[in-house]
């Protein structure tokens, strides 16, 4: 029995007749990870290498595909639209992440107060997040139109506007950010709620005895204790919004002009409208480098777990 147990769980590396059997055991253990690893190799590992490789070729869907060294990278650095797309992406990512990191904290604090009907609010507030970007985009485009949008009608009723939310160069990125806030705030809200439920109530009780009141408690207890989670949310939001594509694709088609062309939107056009695959992979590589930098930040912050 014991021998069998040892064999199954802790194969001894130097057991007398066992080296062949141990080897066979190892090989059969590989079988568990094999399906995953095959798919991983084909659809994740291979394309990463292939993208790096393609970025050094003039790789268009038809015709010869010559090696061109760093030409794609040089072209990218001198391409005005690339810089516009990068600027738009950075602007959108930072603005959206700032909104989605801060505002849900207060909503979560409000929903952490025990009161009747709080679960209804939680359910309601999370709902937009389960919708697809396409539905959100279509509905918001219809709501925010300058001429026929209901939002501008309501603003007109109080003497404001009409505001060309998604048709104005300066407003389009903030508008897409606010749309994204409406769509996605339920997710950070949930994460904050999970964090809040881990803060022991006696801390508040002690502070209350010391004379602390509502806002002071939030400012000096809740926010500092949530800090690791706030940083986690900030970095994960930044990473995901750097990859923005659906909002400009559905709502503005990159417009007005090029004012909401983002990096992934431009990559999509380069690859599937102009079929310049080599050039497009260069953009993907660039974006990957930016995102990896943020991910390293996340690992740094992620290392500090929540302790009280």
């Amino acid at each position: 029995m014991i021998g069998r147990l040892k064999q199954s769980l802790l194969p001894e590396k130097k057991s007398a007749s066992g080296s062949w059997r141990t080897w066979k055991w190892y090989v059969s253990n590989y079988a568990f990870i094999l399906p995953f690893m095959i798919l991983f190799a084909i659809f994740i590992f291979r394309p990463i290498i292939a993208s790096l490789q393609m970025s050094f070729f003039r790789w268009e869907i038809f015709g010869p595909k010559p090696f061109i060294g760093f030409e794609n990278y040089e072209e990218l650095l001198t391409d005005d639209l690339w810089w516009v797309a990068l600027r738009n992406t950075v602007y959108f990512a930072f603005l959206t992440s700032a909104l989605l990191t801060t505002i849900p904290i207060f909503i979560a604090i409000a929903l952490n107060v025990p009161f009747r009907g709080r679960n209804i609010f939680r359910t309601l507030f999370f709902f937009p997040y389960v919708l697809s970007a396409s539905v959100v985009g279509l509905v918001m485009r219809w709501l925010l139109g300058q001429q026929f949008g209901i939002v501008n009608y309501l603003l007109g009723a109080v003497g404001v506007g009409p505001i060309p939310f998604i048709a104005d160069s300066d407003l389009v990125i903030p508008s897409l950010s606010v749309i994204t806030l409406w769509w996605a705030f339920g997710f950070p809200m949930l994460i904050y709620l999970a964090g809040l439920s881990n803060i022991p109530q006696d801390i508040y009780e002690a502070a209350r005895i010391d004379g602390a009141r509502g806002w002071q408690m939030i400012r000096y207890i809740t926010v500092p204790l949530l800090r690791p989670i706030i940083l986690f949310v900030a970095v994960t939001q930044l990473i995901s919004h750097f990859q923005v594509f659906a909002q400009p694709y559905v709502i503005t088609n990159g417009g007005p002009g090029q004012d909401s062309v983002t990096v992934i939107f431009y990559m999509f056009r380069a690859a599937w409208t102009y079929f310049r695959m080599g050039f497009a992979t260069t953009m993907a590589v660039f974006l990957a480098i930016i995102i990896m930098a943020f991910t390293l930040l996340q690992f740094r912050f992620g290392a500090s777990r929540l302790e009280y």
Partner: protein, 293 residues
């Protein structure tokens, strides 16, 4: 346990006022969140000219289902067909992902083999790399395999879910070894331990991951947009996104009531499923959102 009875931020003398203010604020927020849905459905029940009325009618003067009828009979806005495609793809992706990922997670959590840690580190490292970098080479591969415009093109590339592997491995690692050893003594094979111990014991984590994968697949736009081009093969997000282009006029639409009917038709089933399973769904996002922490 007074803290339970007295909420921390509302222990002042003006508790009542704070409470009312809280309700008012949350209700305003709830209206801001619900209004776009209301407006979507209200517009879908108008005729197209009515949708452009100024001042607008806040409810359809003579509610009509003509656009829903139009969608059911027209070829180019085939919402039911797109919904079916989305469902098949999301279900298959979830099933394949859960199976392949949990099997590998068990391997990495509990079995020994050479280079285990090295392989795991290489796999986890790819979590840092945004998925867009796979898209172009994967598109070319899928095209060469003749998979364009097929379910295969969407399902298989999504199956190796590295984040899911990371998540499940954490759960499988915390399973008490003594129980596993006891099962081994009783003659259970590794496959049986995986299937009859690991899977049932960790079913909450698996369900959470399953919901997460399902919703991702259901809502994904970029990849299906690339690989599914024929009208009848589109998923809902792709079909709707293409409509946005085809019926777009400036910052509005040429046939808003029709577009809103298509949007309503594709989001109402989601709403129903969400209301039924909302506890599970929010739990899933809490768990996966924190990376299983």
């Amino acid at each position: 346990m007074q803290a339970e009875a007295q909420p921390p931020h509302l222990t002042d003398t003006n508790t009542q006022i704070s409470r009312i203010a809280l309700y008012v604020l949350l209700t305003l927020l709830a209206i801001a969140i619900l209004f776009p849905f209301y407006w979507m459905v209200a517009t879908s029940l108008k005729t197209n000219p009515e949708a452009f009325y100024y001042p607008p009618d806040f409810y359809p003067p003579e509610p009509t289902l003509e656009h829903y009828h139009e969608i059911m009979t027209r070829g180019d806005i085939n919402v039911p067909r797109w919904g079916w495609n989305s469902l098949v793809i999301a279900v298959a992706t979830t099933a394949v992902t859960l199976f392949v990922t949990s099997l590998a997670a068990y391997g990495f959590a509990r079995l020994e083999f050479p280079f285990k840690n090295l392989i795991f580190i290489v796999v986890i490292f790819t979590l840092m790399i945004p998925s867009q970098i796979y898209m172009i080479p994967n598109y070319l591969l899928v095209r060469d395999l003749g998979w364009l415009d097929s379910y295969h093109a969407v399902i298989w590339p999504a199956a190796p879910n590295v984040f899911g592997l990371f998540l499940l491995r954490q759960f499988f690692s915390t399973f008490p070894r003594e129980l596993e050893e006891a099962a081994t003594v009783d003659g259970a094979s590794r496959l049986r331990i995986y299937w009859q111990l690991m899977i049932p014991v960790n079913r909450n984590a698996l369900i959470a991951l399953g919901i997460f994968v399902f919703l991702h697949s259901w809502n994904d736009l970029f990849w299906p947009l690339i690989v599914l081009s024929r009208v009848e093969n589109r998923t809902l997000p792709v079909g709707l996104a293409v409509l946005a282009g085809a019926y777009g006029a400036g910052d509005s639409f040429s046939e808003p009531a029709l577009i809103m009917a298509a949007s309503s038709m594709s989001s109402i089933p989601v709403l129903i499923v969400y209301v039924i399973f909302q506890r599970r769904i929010t739990q899933s996002f809490m768990l996966t959102g924190m990376g299983g922490r």
